[in-house]
Symmetry: C2
Subunit: 597 residues, 2 copies
């Protein structure tokens, strides 16, 4: 198909944009990509890593297509595949793959987004089937992609009620549109214009006594017999719920990957502009190229370094998901969910900040739609709060650490976390002390021996994580004795979030360092190594208040870190173009008038 099929629009109205994205989706459906991650028994490719990577690649183009494809094949198809059983796979997967059957993933409600456990839509078992109801305004399904215009079937998350008893949230297949019109009992409204992603038809869904058959329940983890008897291979309601949710982490991984790729695109645009654009003359009468200014280098080069870092962290995550397969050990699965959550949070915040920086670095030209950055900015904005609000996700990462992934930390109950922290932490922490020994050894060395030493970076990140985690555990443990678990948790919330963040920073640095180590081309390895230095030192510089406060850096060494970041910016400046070329953004997505005239 023509490459132009995938160009992103700058001048389409909403309806035309939606139509174009649907057409692009259909073009994609004619390739082998959509079914890559599904079971080969139903026409899938059985290649989870390939599937995730192909979603990521959509991050280079119009992000509306990435999101619409993500809804169709990742969330909707993924739920059918991972929460359903043979009968669902047989009946739906081929039609979902081919795009013949378009669907929605109806989880979020008007009143509950992050707190999925308290969704209020109900699915009541009666007369051999389920009746789906929206009890009130707060239970209306909200922001549902594919709902306003194209979806026919929805995976609806609802509280299952059978025998008068509530069994918690389960997923049901519910037809929402028949022959282009809302199905009986289903009310669909359009969310209208959004800040971005206007090629995706987000809508609201309300259900009024909608009957579906017993087979509508996606019954891999729980079933209801003909007589209404409820059964599940997982005894605990909590555990079952989080097992179901856990299967859906691929969405978060795809968002993180797309965010990283959108960031690459913005940086490629900004560097090309920064190498062409000149402003102000030197005393010698030369007009200075923007990227020769230190302030401009400071804006773009550390961002390039962090984007490489996140690229490698993301690559490692995707490999792990791929290798773990569909039935990972529980501890591994918990750890993986945590890692996906953390990288999604850090990568999407990085995207928001960096694309903004890229826009400003291109001045007025960056504000024109034709120069690509406005759409990149508007489209990626929501990434920080959808597929898990970043603040909530970092909290989830911290809880995983605090509980040693030993339980369903995805349950955000503060009481549980405080208790865990109180009971389980001492032993976890005592295992780690090696980092401090290395740091103590290096403390006396000269700046230039230490600042570019990978061992020093790694141990510093590790030691920071240990110290922050230890501190928050102590605080929560002490606070747990105070009686008011919420107040105790809330009082430490910024500390908890910091725990999640420094943990992710450490994982990201490790992934980058590993990528440098395995690079076989020595020139490339040397360049990547310097870039990894810049990532590590920029991170340390940004957080140097903490390092100073906790005696990890002297003020002399802290100032040396800042100086080293400047040195690296100057040293890497000649490679800026080659570094963004290394992102391999397809040229068709870099066509902007400001880069041509």
């Amino acid at each position: 198909m023509a490459q132009e099929t995938f160009l992103d629009p700058t001048e389409l109205d909403i309806e035309a944009h939606r139509a174009q994205v649907l057409e692009q989706l259909r073009a994609l459906a004619r390739t082998d990509r959509p079914g890559l991650g599904y079971d080969p028994a139903h026409g899938g490719g059985g290649d989870v890593g390939g599937s995730l990577t192909s979603f990521e690649m959509l991050g280079f183009g119009d992000l509306s297509l990435m999101v619409k494809a993500g809804v169709q094949w990742g969330l909707f198809g993924g739920a059918v595949q991972l929460l359903g059983t043979e009968r669902h796979h047989r009946e739906y997967l081929r039609r979902i793959t081919s795009g013949e059957l378009l669907g929605c993933f109806a989880m979020t409600e008007h009143g509950h987004g992050s707190d999925v456990q308290h969704l209020r839509t109900t699915a009541t078992f009666t007369d051999g089937g389920f009746v789906i109801d929206t009890p009130d305004e707060s239970a209306v399904k909200e922001y549902i992609g594919n709902a306003a215009r194209d979806g026919e079937l929805a995976v609806v998350f609802a509280q299952l009620i059978t025998g008068g008893e509530s069994r918690g949230v389960h997923a049901f297949l519910v037809p929402i549109r028949v022959g282009g019109e809302p199905a009986p009992g289903v009310t669909i409204t359009d969310c209208g214009r959004k800040a971005g992603l206007n090629g995706v038809d987000n809508g609201r869904l309300a259900f009024d006594g909608v009957r579906v058959g017993r087979a509508a329940l996606l019954n891999r983890f729980a079933d209801v017999a003909e007589d209404g008897t409820y059964s599940s291979p997982i005894e605990s309601d909590n555990r079952r719920f989080f097992t179901m949710l856990g299967t859906l982490i691929r969405g978060r991984i795809s968002v993180a990957g797309s965010a990283v790729n959108a960031t690459k695109r913005a940086l490629a645009v900004a560097v090309r502009y920064g190498e062409r654009r000149r402003q102000f003359f030197t005393p010698d009468g030369d007009e200075v190229v923007l990227l020769d200014y230190r302030a401009h280098q400071r804006k773009l080069l550390p961002a390039i370094a962090k984007t490489y870092a996140l690229h490698f962290a993301q690559e490692r995550l995707v490999s792990t998901v791929h290798d773990l397969g569909t039935e990972p050990a529980e501890h591994d699965q918990r750890e993986l969910e945590s890692r996906a959550a953390g990288i999604k949070a850090v990568a999407t915040w990085h995207a928001t900040r960096t694309i903004q920086t890229a826009r400003e670095a291109c001045g007025g030209a960056g504000y024109l739609a034709e120069n690509l950055l406005p759409a990149l900015k508007a489209d990626t904005d929501v990434f920080t709060t959808f597929e898990g609000d970043n603040t909530v996700l970092l909290q989830l990462v911290a809880k995983g650490l605090l509980t040693g992934y030993r339980d369903y930390f995805a349950d955000l109950s503060t009481l549980a976390t405080v208790r865990f922290a109180a009971e389980q932490l001492v032993e976890t922490l005592l295992e780690r002390t090696s980092a401090r020994k290395v740091l103590d050894r290096l403390a006396g060395a000269a700046d230039d021996e230490v600042l570019f030493d990978r061992e020093w970076h790694l141990r510093l990140f590790e030691d920071r994580e240990e110290h922050v985690l230890d501190g928050v555990a102590r605080r929560l443990r002490k606070a747990a004795e105070s009686g008011d678990a919420f107040a105790a948790f809330n009082d430490a919330q910024d500390h908890v979030l910091r725990t999640g963040r420094v943990h992710v920073d450490r994982l990201v640095l490790e992934a980058f360092a590993a990528a440098v180590d395995r690079c076989e081309d020595s020139a490339a390895a040397a360049l990547l190594g310097r870039l990894c230095d810049l990532y590590a030192l920029s991170d340390i510089e940004a957080d140097r208040a903490w390092f100073l406060e906790h005696g990890r850096l002297t003020s002399g060494r802290a100032k040396a870190v800042t100086a080293a970041v400047n040195t690296l910016c100057a040293e890497l400046r000649p490679y800026a173009r080659v570094l963004v070329d290394g992102f391999a953004v397809p040229e068709q997505f870099l066509r902007a008038p400001m880069l041509e005239s």
Copy 2:
């Protein structure tokens, strides 16, 4: 006129939006606001402060109107008033005020935006008049508001050539559109869709041998006689140029004011949402209001404090401009330009960051156009780079400080600055030492005696500024001896920018402190005082790495600052609503479905 006239659109296409904004502009023209700042002799109100305040008020509504009105009455009309003489005032001001004559301010070119001195459009005196030419692509006037659709006359900045000699940049009145069609020799193109502000018709202007009469020169600061003889009351070309530019600072002041008001609106929306929205339950079964979470308070309350701070700084700036009148002493004028530049930079970056935070604080609802934040975000984005790129503006502030406002520091020549720094700085710095004495006295006091002491905040900000300025001056002085002025300046650029920033931070704190002092209602003064504490302590917290590195804070006190910010967030949380109500955003601009259902 109906209040609804001024509602901002969420669903209009570009042409409809432009039409609506023009209609709003015409409605405004029927009030006495547009002419408030002009000379009473030509129908104006002679009230500069009132005029600036009325532009600021437009910052509460659709920012396209603020920008279009700013172009028409601030930039275009302002240039006629301040760069023109009696003959221009008589001929144009009334028609500009009434909106009968719509105009443009054609300064920025494709190749030169920040570096206005090197604009390349030419105005050649010949046969008793001027011929305006665009010599090449890089000289095309770019992003010109009012150009694509409505403007008839433009103030065009061009290199004046008379007698074969170039006289530098001057301003000329050039008709660009006659009877709705481009004037002969004028090519107008449309900049098309932008990230925001789509109600403003930005366009490009190119001139091919366009003849205008001798009276087209706005001749307050320079004139050309019938025989082509050039004369000016200001001898130095450089000085004349910056005197002309200096008269135009009102645009920057208006942008800063609008940015502050747009920020207020975003915060009012986010606080209302944060007080309604609940997510996750406490162990006691209460669903927690978002604003009761520490992380949420941390997102919004320091931003509210800084918005108040900037409000007062802006108010003080507007008063000063008003009081100085049209013929201020040169030093006062330079200092004022610097202050306007600095507050514009800090206020617009604060707007970009805070509106983004507000969007994220409202989750998915904040991403829907109907909930106002997307337009606020998209519209204000360009504020950081138009009317002066913020990075360039902070540099200008620093140069003012380095030269003691003794010359035309708006000239960004690096050579000049390095020389000034080398020659003039020692004396300036020796004058200031009192701050350190107070700080030394307070260094030994207990945290709780110091942290909420306004004297401590003020002296700490002052001392930081002195130290940073002293340091950069030493660096530049040393570097000046090295011979390569550009390299020396560039090497210190981040330090130079920091100098500008900490200077503005000090001015802003002083303005806030003065506002608290003059507040006569004791309850309000107490609340404002705590808010001022929060502003000061948040700023210190964000910059505590510097204070630690330079021995201004011990690590114990730095941690106490962080704890104090948390304490203040909790203490002020019950007043969040009253604080945003205090912004007095008209209720009609806060109507969002997410705040109603």
